[in-house]
């Protein structure tokens, strides 16, 4: 097994990790909110994509927006139910409520989609792209493009536009922002739905790489946590770098040790980082 192969594989993995984590970064960094159902929203994005392609017969590229709309609507419902907690900035209750929502969504998805592993049929999964001796599928390219594009847009919107200034203002001091006529509840809603949409997009483009189960959300969310904490809370650039770094780490680790332990190894790294440098990498 050569190192270049693993690097290429690691880049695709890492782009997926970064894509999965971007919503959380914005949610936590820009709005000081959390969503422990993030993994389940990823799962739902993947399953709605699968359902739309197999049951409705919609082509893959059209199934992705269907999944986005479905998960986005769920995000709106969740956020509206939690409005009071959000305005109080009650993070502890928000954690628990979203954890409960996630479990509820998982149970519901298992009832609707069944307990069997499913494969999303994507035309890009079988098409190969060669890079030296390393091999990409077009799906991997799609993941990398989606991740880079979403990070670029997010970074630009948050740091250079009026919307970004409003979001940052509300995050800094919701009450003061409201004095300036900003509807904080609407800003929170927008940020939360953006995070939900990004999780659904991640599910729709990453999940075709491997079979999906309704229980995957529980595991997937760990990647988000690793990236968010290691990359520094709220640091968008830090998260992108950490995502890719984690992907390469997992790919290389998997080449030499049992791959099942790669996440455990990444977690061990996190524990060390927390002791040495609790604020994470935090690249500004």
């Amino acid at each position: 097994m050569n190192v270049l192969d693993q690097l290429v594989n690691g880049l695709a993995l890492g782009a997926g990790y970064a894509l999965l984590a971007v919503g959380w970064t914005v949610l936590l960094g820009a709005a000081r909110l959390v969503n422990f159902a993030h993994g389940q929203l990823y799962m739902l994005g993947a399953f709605v994509t699968w359902w739309a392609t197999t049951s409705l017969g919609v082509p893959y590229l059209l199934a992705v927006p269907v999944a986005l709309v479905a998960v986005g609507l769920l995000g709106v419902v969740m956020q509206l139910a939690m409005t009071r907690l959000v305005l109080e900035q009650n993070i502890v209750s928000l954690m628990l409520v979203t954890l409960a929502f996630g479990y509820l969504v998982q149970g519901g998805a298992a009832l609707v989609f069944g307990g069997n592993p499913q494969q999303i049929p994507s035309p890009f999964s079988s098409a190969n792209v060669a890079l030296g001796s390393g091999r990409f599928t077009q799906q991997d390219v799609l993941i990398i493009v989606a991740a880079l594009a979403l990070y670029a847009v997010t970074f630009f919107v948050l740091s250079r536009t009026t919307i970004g200034r409003i979001v940052r203002g509300v995050a800094e001091d919701p009450k003061l922002a409201q004095l300036y006529g900003i509807d904080a509840a609407r800003v929170y809603l927008g940020v939360f739905v953006f995070a939900a949409l990004s999780a659904a997009l991640a599910g729709a483009v990453i999940a075709p790489r491997s079979p999906i189960l309704t229980s995957i959300g529980f595991d997937e969310v760990i990647i988000t946590f690793l990236v968010v904490v290691l990359g520094g809370i709220g640091s968008i650039l830090g998260n992108l770098v950490t995502g890719f770094g984690l992907g390469v780490f997992v790919a290389l680790f998997g080449a030499f040790f049992p791959p099942a332990y790669s996440m455990a190894a990444a977690f061990a790294v996190l524990l060390v980082v927390l002791v040495v440098r609790p604020e994470g990498l935090r690249i500004r």
């Binding site: 628990l96 954890l99 509820l104």
Partner: protein, 342 residues
């Protein structure tokens, strides 16, 4: 002024304020606990004593003890640990390994279970010592999921199948051994463990550590000013909570006679959180009541695995959204409203 004399913000400690409640005569107050213990022990008999009833009450006792573990951290420290399934599963796995692989007896495996989870808690507690509230939750949650993947893939721990063939729980007794062959025979042991754990919690609530923990939750700055080492308190309470969940795992390994990675699943995490939050945090018997409600639903009124997930998730979400102080909060609101009217 000692720590225990410090006033505590009343509005943030539901269930702690005595004002308004009936003042019981001294005799009733003293007799209350023995009577409650005897009645509690007789519950399965009073409910008919069928096999199903005994299975349910034994599970209630085990799950209540499990929930008391996280209760210590959630109610008194005010931190949300999402890693307590690690201690619950750690206790069960240590027991299964000791009993199945090395043929240890229940008491030796109990020591092993407590030792293993204490070490886990010390490592996790020290690693998260400098983290703030939600980062603490993220890291403990990650620890639990990582535990799940490690256990599922480890040959020694039985992989996804887990370890089967945990022997019957046989304790040394007068004139030989007491062997728990059925749930009815398991009940006295489970009940004693439950009573002991409740006694430990009651003691903790009155202890210096318990009061200090509450103070670091209510007002960390004040605690620091008074010379309390906030970080030390947090780690101590966290480490204290782990063996409680571990003991529950010990008992569960014998009750179920096998252990498997599902012990680390979201189910038990959500269960223990809901058992504490549903009745209302910081109530001595809260986790017991919560565990009783949830276990009864799942054992006697189940809608099937996936639907029960929806029920558990919905119950936890609904109580947090509608009455963050739990069922006690709802009762207080009703009492207040009727008092306003009268």
């Amino acid at each position: 002024m000692t720590v225990s004399e410090l006033p505590v913000h009343e509005e943030r400690t539901p269930g702690r304020h005595r004002a308004g409640g009936p003042v019981l005569p001294a005799a009733v107050r003293i007799a209350r606990w023995p009577v409650l213990i005897v009645l509690g022990y007789l519950v399965p008999v009073l409910l008919g004593g069928s096999d199903r009833i005994y299975a349910t009450v034994v599970l209630i006792a085990i799950f209540a003890v499990m929930s008391y573990g996280i209760d210590v951290v959630l109610s008194y420290l005010g931190e949300v640990s999402l890693g307590h399934t690690l201690f619950w599963a750690g206790g069960a796995y240590a027991t299964a390994v000791a009993a199945v692989k090395y043929g240890w007896g229940p008491l030796a495996s109990l020591v092993a279970a407590v030792a293993v989870v204490t070490v886990l808690a010390v490592v996790l507690g020290l690693a998260t010592i400098r983290t703030r509230e939600f980062v603490f939750s993220l890291v403990t949650y990650a620890a639990a999921v990582i535990g799940l993947t490690v256990v599922s893939n480890n040959e020694f721990l039985g992989g996804t199948d887990g370890l089967v063939g945990v022997p019957l729980l046989a304790l040394p007794a007068v004139g030989g051994q007491y062997v728990a062959r059925t749930n009815a025979e398991m009940w006295p042991i489970a009940f004693v463990v439950l009573v002991l754990v409740v006694a430990v919690i009651a003691r903790f609530r009155r202890s210096r550590l318990g009061v200090t923990a509450l103070m670091t939750q209510m007002n960390p700055d004040l605690a620091t000013t008074l010379g309390v080492d906030v970080r030390r308190t947090r780690v101590l309470v966290f480490v204290l909570s782990a063996p409680i969940a571990g003991v529950a795992g010990w008992l569960y390994a014998y009750q179920r006679s096998y252990v498997s990675p599902d012990l680390l699943s979201a189910h038990f995490l959500l269960f223990m959180l809901a058992a504490v939050i549903l009745p209302g945090r910081r109530l001595l018997l809260g986790p017991l009541v919560g565990a009783a409600i949830l276990t009864t639903q799942q054992e006697l009124f189940s809608f099937g695995g996936d639907a029960d997930k929806i029920v558990l998730g919905a119950v936890l979400a609904a109580i947090l959204l509608l009455s963050p102080n739990g069922l006690v909060g709802i009762r207080h609101a009703i009492v207040r409203r009727s008092a306003d009217r009268g």
